[in-house]
C-alpha cells in the first residue's frame, strides 16, 4: 500500500474538516477520522503499567472524531517496528504511542525517520537533539506520588518495616524506592524499607515469593515497581499486610488493605496532547511533569489511613502540586554512609543528576548490585 497517498488524503480531509484548523507544517492534520495507535508490551488489563496507558487510550476513544487502534504484548524487537508500520499502512494511523521503554531506541527512532510526516510519542525515553523532530518522549515524576505513599506507609506501619518489590536497579526504580523511603522517614524516622529486586519487569512467581519473604521478615506495608502490581497486592492482602499501589488504582483487588498509591494520569495527558495537535501547538519533544502538571496522581486514601496521616500527606501533596517542595534535598546519605546530596543542595525534579540515580538512600535495606 502506498503510504504517500494515505497521507495526502488525510491532509486533504484535515483541511476540509477543520474549519478553524489548517494542516500545520510537516505535522499531520487532525482529520475527522484521525487514527491513533497504541502499542503495549504486556496485557492491557494487567492492573499495572499497560493498563494505565490503556486507560489513557480509553479517554481518547471518548473524544469525537478519533479512532484508536491498540495492540498488546508486542515484543521490544523489530516486531514493534512492524506493528507501527502495520498501523500506519493498514489502519492509516497518524499519531502513535509505543508505550514501552524498550521501543524507543532503535525501533521508534527508525520509524520516526522513515515516516517524517507522522507523530510518534514515547513514554519514558530521553529525547535528545539527535533524535527526529517528529518524535517525542514524555514521562512523569511519579516519585512525587511515591513520596506521598511513603508518608502514608510511615504512619500506617506498626513494625516500622516497609517492603518494596522492585524489578531492576535502574535509575527510575531507585528513584521511586528512595522517594518512598524519604517520605516514610519524614512521617516516621524509625521506618526502614527492605527492597527485593526480581530482575525483570514481569515475573509473577518471583514477585509473589518476594512479597511472602518480606512479610515473613515482619514487613507490614508493601509497595512495588514492577509492570503488574496485581501479584504483590493480592498476596500481601491475603497475608494481612497493607499495600500502596503503583501504576493504576489497585483498590478493587484489595479494598481493605489498600492505603493509597502512585498512579499515572495518562487519561488527562493524552487528550491534552491531542487537543494541542488540533490547536496547532507543538508538543515539546521532551515532556515531563509531576503532580503539578497532572501527569501523575495519588490514589484516594483507603479506610485504614489515619486522620493524622491524611493531614500530613495532604499538606505535602498541596505543596508538591503548587511546585514549591523539593524531595531530594540535602543532606542525603546513601545506605552505605556516603553523602550523595550534600547539605544545602536541592535537586529539583528536572535536575538531570536525578535521572542517573545509582544509590539507595539511608533507611533502605538492600543493594543496587
Amino acid at each position: 500500500m502506498d503510504f504517500g497517498s494515505i497521507s495526502r488524503r488525510h491532509l486533504l480531509q484535515g483541511s476540509a474538516a477543520l474549519t478553524l484548523g489548517t494542516a500545520f507544517g510537516a505535522r499531520s492534520a487532525l482529520a475527522a477520522d484521525t487514527t491513533i495507535g497504541f502499542i503495549y508490551v504486556g496485557s492491557r488489563d494487567d492492573y499495572g503499567y499497560n493498563q494505565a496507558h490503556a486507560q489513557g487510550a480509553a479517554a481518547l476513544k471518548k473524544m469525537p472524531g478519533l479512532k484508536v487502534v491498540e495492540e498488546e504484548k508486542v515484543a521490544e524487537t523489530d516486531a514493534v517496528e512492524k506493528t507501527m508500520e502495520s498501523m500506519i499502512n493498514l489502519d492509516g494511523a497518524t499519531l502513535l504511542f509505543p508505550t514501552s521503554f524498550g521501543y524507543y531506541n532503535p525501533h521508534m527512532i527508525k520509524m520516526a525517520s522513515k515516516f517524517p510526516k507522522l507523530r510518534f510519542e514515547h513514554c519514558g525515553g530521553l529525547w535528545s537533539d539527535k533524535d527526529p523532530k517528529n518524535a517525542g518522549s514524555y514521562f512523569g515524576y511519579i516519585d512525587e506520588a511515591q513520596y506521598i505513599s511513603g508518608i502514608v506507609a510511615g504512619y500506617s506501619t506498626k513494625t516500622n518495616k516497609l517492603g518494596f518489590v522492585a524489578a531492576k536497579p535502574i535509575p527510575q526504580v531507585l528513584r521511586n524506592i528512595n522517594a518512598f523511603t524519604l517520605g516514610a522517614k519524614l512521617a516516621n524516622p524509625k521506618a526502614t524499607t527492605q527492597v527485593i529486586f526480581t530482575g525483570d519487569w514481569s515475573m509473577p512467581v518471583k514477585e509473589a515469593e518476594a512479597t511472602n519473604s518480606l512479610i515473613d521478615q515482619g514487613v507490614d506495608v508493601l509497595t512495588c515497581h514492577v509492570d503488574g502490581p496485581k501479584t504483590m497486592v493480592e498476596n500481601a492482602a491475603r497475608r494481612g499486610a497493607m499495600v500502596c499501589g503503583y501504576h493504576v488504582n489497585q483498590s478493587p483487588l484489595a479494598p481493605k488493605a489498600y492505603l493509597t498509591g502512585a498512579e499515572w494520569n495518562w487519561e488527562a495527558l493524552y487528550p491534552k496532547f491531542v487537543k494541542m495537535i488540533a490547536a496547532g501547538e507543538a508538543i515539546p519533544n521532551f515532556y515531563r511533569g509531576g503532580l503539578k502538571e497532572e501527569i501523575v496522581k495519588v490514589s484516594p486514601y483507603g479506610e485504614a489511613v489515619s486522620a493524622e496521616a491524611r493531614k500530613h500527606a495532604d499538606g505535602i501533596k498541596a505543596k508538591l502540586t503548587a511546585g514549591d517542595y523539593v524531595i531530594f534535598k540535602g543532606p542525603i546519605m546513601d545506605n552505605k554512609g556516603k553523602t550523595v546530596i550534600s547539605a544545602g543542595t536541592e535537586r529539583g525534579q528536572k535536575d538531570p543528576e536525578l535521572e542517573k540515580m545509582d544509590y539507595l538512600v539511608e533507611g533502605v535495606i538492600g543493594a543496587t548490585s
Partner: protein, 369 residues
C-alpha cells in the same frame, strides 16, 4: 490464506490419479504436502468455530489473516521479517532430531550467540565493517555452537537428558546475559535500559535491497538448504540418520556416535547463534534483555511442524511468521486478545501432530487401484 495454498496442491495431487506409476513414484512426496495441508485447513476451521463462539465472523477472521500476513507487499515483508529468526532457531531443534535427540534450548544458543557477536564487534571497532561482520558471524556460530554442545556432551558423556539440560541452559544463558549487560559490558549511558555499547551503524548488516527484510532471511534459507544437503545427501548425514534410527546398530557398524552428536549439536547451536548475531547486527544494534523475545521457543514449534525436515522449515517458518504478522490485525480489527494467536498456534500444533497417524494409510496415494 491456507485454502489458497492448499487447493492447487490438492488439485495437483488428485488430477493425475489415473496414472498409478506417477503415484508410486511421487505418492510419498504428495503425502508430505497433502497431510500437513489438510491438518492446517482443519486447524483453521476449528479456530474459526472458536472465534465464532466469541461472536466474531470467521470470514472476517480469514480475510484479516490473509490481509495481515500476505495481502500486501508490506504484509509480506512483515511476515518474512518475523520468519527469518525462526528458520535459524528451528534448525537448532531439527538437526539434533536426526540423531533422535530432542533439543529445546535454541533460545539459550541465540542469546549466547548474540553476546559473542556483540563482544567480537566491540573488540574490533577499528576494523573495516566487512571484517567486523564476518567476525560477528563466526563468533555467533562458535558461541551458540558451544552452548548446545554442552547439552550434547552432557548427554553423551554423563547421560544427562538433553531435553532438560538444553532447556535449563536457556535460563543460565539469560542469567549470564543479564549479568554482563548490567555489569561488565554495560554502557554507562544506558540508564534505564541496561545495554552493551552499540556495535556502530557502519557494522550493521542492513536489509535485503529493495525490501525491509533483513539478511537473516537469506542466512536462514541458506542454512536450511545446507542442512538438508548435509542430512540427506552426504555420508555424514547418512551416518547421523543411522545413529538416530538405532544407536546400537550404529556403534556396531563402527560409527563414532560421540563425534556425530557433538558435531550435530555444534551445527544446531551455531544456527541459533547466527539468529542471535542477526538480531544484534540487523535489528537491535547492541545486546540487551530485548533479545530474549522467544524466537528460540517458537523455533521448536516450527521444527516439529516441519517434521524436523530442514527444507520444510522454510515454508513453516513463513507460515508462523504470517500468523504472528496477522495477529496484530486480529487484535485491532476484531478486538481479539493477543492470546488468540497462541490458541491458533496450539490448534495447528495438535492437528499436525495428530495427522502423523495418517502417513502411509491413505490408500490411493500408494498407487493401488
Amino acid at each position: 490464506m491456507t485454502s489458497g495454498v492448499a487447493d492447487p496442491l490438492e488439485a495437483a495431487a488428485i488430477s493425475p490419479a489415473a496414472d498409478p506409476g506417477f503415484l508410486q513414484r511421487y505418492g510419498g512426496t504428495i503425502e508430505y504436502i497433502l497431510i500437513p495441508g489438510a491438518a492446517l485447513v482443519g486447524a483453521l476451521g476449528v479456530f474459526g468455530i472458536f472465534v465464532a463462539l466469541f461472536g466474531k465472523s470467521p470470514l472476517d477472521l480469514y480475510f484479516f489473516m490473509y490481509q495481515g500476513a500476505f495481502g500486501t507487499w508490506f504484509s509480506w515483508q512483515n511476515t518474512l521479517t518475523r520468519a527469518a529468526p525462526l528458520i535459524l532457531t528451528a534448525l537448532c531443534t531439527a538437526l539434533p532430531a536426526q540423531l533422535g535427540m530432542v533439543i529445546i534450548g535454541g533460545e539459550g544458543a541465540l542469546l549466547i550467540g548474540a553476546l559473542a557477536a556483540t563482544s567480537a564487534a566491540l573488540m574490533m571497532q577499528s576494523a573495516p565493517p566487512l571484517v567486523v561482520q564476518l567476525a560477528m558471524v563466526v563468533a555467533g556460530m562458535i558461541g551458540g555452537g558451544l552452548w548446545i554442545m554442552l547439552a550434547g556432551g552432557l548427554r553423551q558423556y554423563r547421560g544427562v537428558n538433553e531435553t532438560i539440560s538444553s532447556l535449563l541452559l536457556v535460563y543460565i544463558a539469560l542469567a549470564i546475559l543479564n549479568h554482563l549487560v548490567e555489569g561488565a559490558m554495560r554502557d554507562p549511558a544506558s540508564l534505564n535500559k541496561p545495554s552493551t555499547r552499540e556495535i556502530g551503524a557502519a557494522n550493521m548488516i542492513g536489509s535485503i535491497p529493495g525490501t525491509d527484510v533483513h539478511w537473516g532471511l537469506v542466512f536462514g534459507i541458506v542454512a536450511a538448504i545446507a542442512s538438508y544437503i548435509l542430512i540427506y545427501h552426504t555420508v555424514f548425514g547418512f551416518a547421523a540418520r543411522v545413529a538416530g534410527g538405532n544407536i546400537r546398530a550404529a556403534k556396531i557398524v563402527g560409527l563414532s556416535v560421540g563425534k556425530l552428536i557433538m558435531t550435530i549439536c555444534f551445527l544446531a547451536g551455531a544456527s541459533a547463534g547466527v539468529a542471535g548475531m542477526v538480531e544484534v547486527a540487523a535489528v537491535q544494534g547492541r545486546t540487551n534483555a530485548n533479545l530474549a523475545a522467544g524466537y528460540g521457543f517458537t523455533g521448536i514449534l516450527v521444527a516439529f511442524l516441519a517434521r524436523q525436515n530442514p527444507l520444510a522449515i522454510i515454508p513453516v517458518a513463513i507460515l508462523l511468521g504470517g500468523i504472528s504478522a496477522s495477529g496484530g490485525l486480529l487484535q485491532r480489527r476484531l478486538g481479539l486478545p493477543d492470546a488468540s494467536v497462541q490458541v491458533l498456534q496450539g490448534i495447528i500444533f495438535v492437528f499436525v501432530l495428530a495427522s502423523d497417524a495418517l502417513y502411509g494409510r491413505i490408500g490411493f496415494l500408494k498407487g493401488k487401484s
